[in-house]
Amino acid sequence: MMARAGTDLRRFTGFFPMTLLCLLVLYAPLMVVAVYSFNASTSITLWGGFSLDWYHDVFIGPEAPKFRQATINSLVVASLAGLAATLIATAAAVAMHRTGGFRGKTASFALINLPLMVPEVVTAVASLIFFTVIGFSGGIGTILLAHITFCIPFAYLPVAARLSTLPDGYEQAAMDLYATPWQSFRLVLLPLMAPGIMSGFLLAFIISLDDFLITNFVKGAGVETLPTAIFGAVKQGIKPNIMAISTLMLAISVVFVALSWLIGRNGKIKS
């Protein structure tokens, strides 16, 4: 890098403005919606001064019960699906990284990644057909089963990443001291894996909360999650209360990402 005095081989004219453009594209729509959610005017175009009316409307307005129920459904599904997917993925990660070679390992790996490879709309269609054929009527149950399934690879990624960096010496030591495999797993490996498991859960939780398409196919009539409720409302035009809900969800997402990031960082510092 010292070869040419005065020229930096890492620098390209225009790359910095492009980076700013990238961030502008990523943030401008969200910023605009966040700002307009505090608009006092009922017109969603003109600025009429600062107000919290639309947040008020979200919590106690005429549509509040609908959105409250949808939020509860979303949170219940995301928590349960996140939890189940994380448990399943943790077991799978231990199998892939701590049991040596086994029959069907390659197929198992492909299966874990299958939800990432099948296009979302295809998963949605296939799930709808499957639930119809076996006679499950759409509701929280079908939403939950579909969510657990597509959350598994997302929960798997951080858990497996963590596990692949952990040498098995600690567990070996535990077993040398007469711990059973189960004890060494539960008392030694599990605590060491904890940051990965936590990140996996948060990732699965966010992915479940984010899903619209698959949920919309399998949910059945009358059952709504927050994204399907918002989609339904948006189809009738963007009203200011939608912007308030969007801003709240934006805030929740940012908190979750920050949390996940901090947990990941702590995990790295400790090890």
């Binding site: 790359f15 049991t99 299966l111």
Partner: protein
């Protein structure tokens, strides 16, 4: 990794040998029963006879694929010719997904390069900035984009006020709006793999090129781009594949004129069309294309690894 020796590193340990079936069983059950089996069933459905108002009659037919590929006239009695309606929708989807991928590359590559050449302690912050929007609900991001670019929206209001334009751009419900939506939805997917590739790039190569009198743009074209190509290809696939089957961006930003595969499929199940076997057939065709792209990618990667190993 042949890590069977005691105390060896993670990744290939066999400490819990023999427990694999028990540990893998939940994954096999969940993904096998609730994804693999449904996809196979969907394949079967695409060969069944449609019943009106959704639903099927369990008798095999090629009607769904016939409807997709062949035009037999209004009453089905003319000699078959190629049906362009659905192929046209596929072509538009491929074109839009390809354009979105290119646009993501044009903006994403410089961004990834810029971030990867910052001081190590600053990179995390820049990366964090790029990834945050990805974690925001896709529906909300698409709605935000719709709000921003509507004729009455802030973008047009700003451009009108500043005198750049004297009437609204009329972006909404056009292919351009859908392209913007796809670009915005999947941009972080392009930045991250390229970033990872640039971070591993050996700058001695740039020095060597400079010593041989290459200017910086020649170095970029002949040295850097080939060196980080795996990252670019990974990014392109991560943008192209979800764009191809996207539903929200075409539906909310494009309307009826910018119809894409996702909406075509959705309409067969949720909309007025109500033709489940046809919807299943379209989904099968989409999945075949996507699996084909992924397979070519996997093959190329295996070959590249074999070359490096040799």
């Amino acid at each position: 990794m042949a890590a069977t020796t005691p105390g060896s590193g993670g990744g290939g340990s066999d400490l819990y040998r023999g427990n694999a079936p028990r540990l893998m069983l939940p994954t096999w059950l969940m993904i096998g029963v609730f994804l693999l089996l449904p996809v196979l069933l969907m394949g079967v459905y695409s060969f069944l006879t449609k019943e009106f108002r959704g639903g099927v009659i369990w008798s095999p037919t090629l009607a769904a694929y016939d409807q997709f590929f062949l035009n037999r006239g209004l009453f089905g009695d003319e000699p078959p010719s190629i049906e362009w309606t659905y192929l046209g929708i596929f072509w538009r989807s491929i074109w839009q997904a390809g354009s979105a991928t290119l646009l993501c590359f044009v903006v994403g590559f410089p961004t990834a390069w810029f971030i990867a050449t910052r001081a190590p302690q600053h990179r995390t912050v820049w990366l964090f900035l790029v990834t945050i929007p990805y974690w925001v609900n896709l529906l909300i991001r698409t709605v935000s984009m719709k709000f921003l670019i509507r004729d009455e929206g802030p973008l047009n209001a700003f451009l009108l006020w500043s005198g750049v334009i004297d009437q609204p751009l009329g972006l909404i419900n056009t292919n351009v709006a859908v392209l913007l939506g796809l670009f915005y939805s999947y941009l972080p997917f392009m930045v991250l793999p390229i970033y990872a590739a640039v971070e591993r790039y050996d700058f001695a190569l740039s020095e060597a090129a400079a010593d041989l009198y290459a200017d910086s743009w020649t170095t970029l074209r002949l040295v850097i781009l080939p060196a980080v190509r795996p990252g670019i290809i990974a990014g392109a696939i991560l943008v192209f594949v979800p764009s191809l089957g996207a539903f929200l961006a075409p539906d909310l930003l494009g309307g009826a004129k910018a119809f894409m595969i996702g909406s075509l499929i959705e309409e067969q199940f949720k909309g007025a069309a109500g033709n489940w076997p046809f919807g299943a057939a379209v989904a099968m065709i989409l999945m075949t294309i996507v699996m084909g792209v992924l397979l070519i990618y996997a093959r190329a990667q295996t070959r590249a690894q074999a070359r490096e190993g040799a």
